[in-house]
């Protein structure tokens, strides 16, 4: 249509067309491009905005988890007291009572200007009996001599120090009364209650819901570590072997096409499905232990395999055919060509893919839900290397999920702290992947 009309009256359009002055259409195109760039910048800015919001909220909520409030006093336990406590059913309570009365005597001697009673002291302290009992069973030689203890304060006292609990909003309850805060203030002045770095959070295992002071993420870091060992040990050889065969040796036919399509499909399967499979096959059929990192690792291997196969095949494809041709040309067998020439060149890509697959598996909770790794798993550190695979343990994301669903706000804070630790691991893994790629990647 336009061509026809232009031919009809060529004189109608003025002809001084300048190449430097932009005409209407060029201006329109330039405008469209500017608009598109603005959209792009807006998209990036939105992404960055959310990232900043996410990070500030994680950091501001999680950083307090790394400090804790401790009651630091000297305490002496006699041989006889220990025997009496050990004779009870509820031993840790007996230890805790001994500590409370010792603390009261000590505070009475110091002559603080507040009323002190044992109930109030009990409300201020966390669950200290376990810590004391463990200490003396590990160091029986310390019986009868004064030992300096740093014991966790209760979650509400901890919250008072961190600003989570304030005098104005708190309500008297059996957990803490307003008058107790006067005692806390006095003890703070006397240096008995203070804040310290929260080592138990880094090194400890999970604790009961009434003992947030004793909860730590260390054991679940170990659980995650053993799971990642299983994932690495299984998915890397299987994945690499499968992709080398598919890429270099397999004939192109319907069957290999089918396998290829299915690998891509497998990569898109929701991870909870692998958990159901793990429960049915590994636990109910193969009778592997429940809640064990070994089973968790096997399930996550299934999940990671497609990722590794896809990235390995991509990096094998990226090796130029001339390398293979040259190797074959000088008389190498096909296998020699692959293992001596192609695979080393593809290795950085394979490793990057593997690490990213592992990082994905590290943050996965859903499949663990079904094989018993989510819940209260407080076994602590495994007894040995092999036991690490089979003893019940949790994993970092599972531990975070468990904490986030507990009633006491102190656990919520710990969940955020756990996220920081998980992110540190993920970032480290991703940085290693980037470094490997930068150092060893070859471009053609």
């Amino acid at each position: 249509m336009t061509d026809a009309s232009m031919q009809e009256n060529p004189e109608a359009t003025p002809h001084p067309v300048s190449l430097t002055a932009p005409n209407e259409r060029t201006r329109k195109r330039a405008k469209a491009e500017r608009r598109f760039r603005a959209y792009g910048i807006a998209a990036v800015a939105t992404g960055l905005f959310f990232l900043v919001v996410l990070f500030t909220s994680i950091l501001s909520e999680g950083i307090p988890a790394f400090t804790r409030t401790v009651v630091s006093v000297e305490f002496t336990l006699t041989e006889q007291q220990r025997e009496e406590s050990e004779a009870e059913l509820f031993k840790t309570k007996a230890y805790s009572n001994l500590f409370i009365s010792a603390l009261k005597t000590e505070l009475d001697e110091r002559g603080l200007n507040v009323e002190i009673n044992e109930d109030a002291i009990e409300r201020l302290l966390g669950k200290v009996g376990g810590t004391i009992r463990t200490f003396y069973s590990e160091n029986p030689g310390k019986l009868g001599e004064p030992v300096e203890f740093d014991l966790a304060a209760s979650s509400r006292v901890d919250g008072y120090f961190k600003g989570r609990v304030s005098r104005d909003t708190m309500q008297d309850s059996r957990f803490l009364e307003k008058s107790d805060l006067d005692l806390v203030d006095a003890l703070k002045e006397a240096g008995v209650i203070k804040q310290a770095f929260n080592w138990p959070f880094i090194t400890g295992a999970d604790s009961g819901v009434d003992n947030p002071g004793g909860a730590g993420i260390g054991a679940s870091v170990v659980g995650s570590f053993f799971m990642m060992l299983v994932v690495l040990g299984l998915s890397l050889p299987i994945g690499v072997a499968a992709s080398i065969y598919l890429e270099e040796f397999a004939p192109q036919n319907r069957f290999t096409d089918l396998i290829e399509v299915n690998i891509s499909n497998l990569a898109a399967v929701p991870s909870i499905v692998f958990g159901i499979l793990g429960l049915a096959v590994f636990i109910q059929f193969m009778h592997l232990p429940q809640s064990a990192p070994l089973v968790g690792g096997l399930v996550l291997t299934l999940m990671t395999l497609p990722t590794i196969i896809i990235s390995t095949r991509a990096s094998l494809k990226a090796v130029p055919p001339s390398i293979r041709d040259a190797a074959l040309g000088v008389g190498a067998s096909k296998m020699q060509a692959v293992f001596h020439h192609v695979l080393p060149l593809a290795a950085p890509g394979i490793l990057t893919g593997t690490i990213i697959g592992l990082a994905q598996a590290l943050g996965e909770t859903a499949p663990l839900l079904l094989i018993g790794m989510v819940g209260f798993v407080a076994r602590g550190y495994p007894d040995g290397f092999l036991a690490g695979f089979t003893e019940p343990n949790s994993a970092m994301p599972a531990q975070i999920y468990t904490w986030a669903s507990r009633a006491d706000a102190a656990f919520y804070e710990k969940a955020w702290g756990g996220i920081i630790i998980l992110l540190v691991f993920l970032l480290t893994m991703n940085i290693i992947a980037i470094i490997l790629r930068r150092r060893f990647e070859r471009r053609w």
């Binding site: 059996r174 009961g208 040990g233 050889p237 018993g372 209260f376 407080a378 695979f389």
Partner: protein, 346 residues
Amino acid sequence: MSFVKLSASALAIAAVSATAAVARDNVQVAGSSTVLPYASIVAELFGDNTDFPTPVVESGGSSAGLKRFCEGVGENTIDVANASRAIREKEIKACAENGVTDIMEVRIGYDGIVFASQQSGPAFTAFQPADIYNAIGAKVIKDGALVDNSFNSWAEFNGDLPDVEIAMFIPGTKHGTREVFEDKVLLAGCETTGAMEAMIKGGLSEDDAEDACLDVRTDGKSVDIDGDYTETLARIDTNPNGIGVFGLAFYENNTDKLKVATMGGIEPSTETIASGQYPVSRPLFFYVKKAHIGVIPGLKEYAQFFVADEIAGGSSPLANYGLVADPELAKTQDAIANEVTMGSDS
């Protein structure tokens, strides 16, 4: 290739450990998320105070836990199922079909179900079961006739309640709490409002009418929460008009955020629940596979430890956390000591 060697050795290790790990030495527990906090307290203390390893306690809901409990006997099945309701006939049957016949029922105490709203929200301080039924029941009596629930505000059916939009967050059907909520609140409300009578007059049989009473409206005014109480708390936090259903212990841990309402004029507390005055409470249980006693180390000891006076009695850690102690605890202790199973004592 060094990584081939590395992975081969890792494979070998995994295979070896898989075959080495046949005997389970810890008690494996799953079930109700209401019992989970108590079970986790006991599990930690059990690990701290005995030579047995700390039991593993999973969550997932009463029904899910009992389902796994009934999957069979053997080390790859759980030993203990926590439940916030009694086991059902149907479930006992399913258990028996899979060879789980000797089941020990252990009642650990009572738990109250409370209705709470945001601390700074409108004054929801007193409810009757009828109010809750009128708010979320599927069919209610309006102007003398049984109609589909179209109430928008609490004040429409009870002038004492605030004139704000109805928004209730109730436990989802996989929770044992839902059953108690239905029995003690919805059904009671259905009867007192006269909705049940109207349904029976409308041609329903008594059983069908009872079922119909438990239907909740589906227009978004009542939201099923399938997650934990923390999810309900998050919803209440963002909705000043929201009313949530919580366990007593959860509420007591969050008194600075939540305001509790009385039910039938009684304020929920461990005392009113123990005396039976507060109407919405239920017993909490765990179920033990007798066949596993003697096979799984520490199983009987765990059950005994759980209900010991020092752990679940009057001023124990469990009571301190919010469990209402069972006045008949001694009977339960005897039953465990003698390994009494369900059905054998009656």
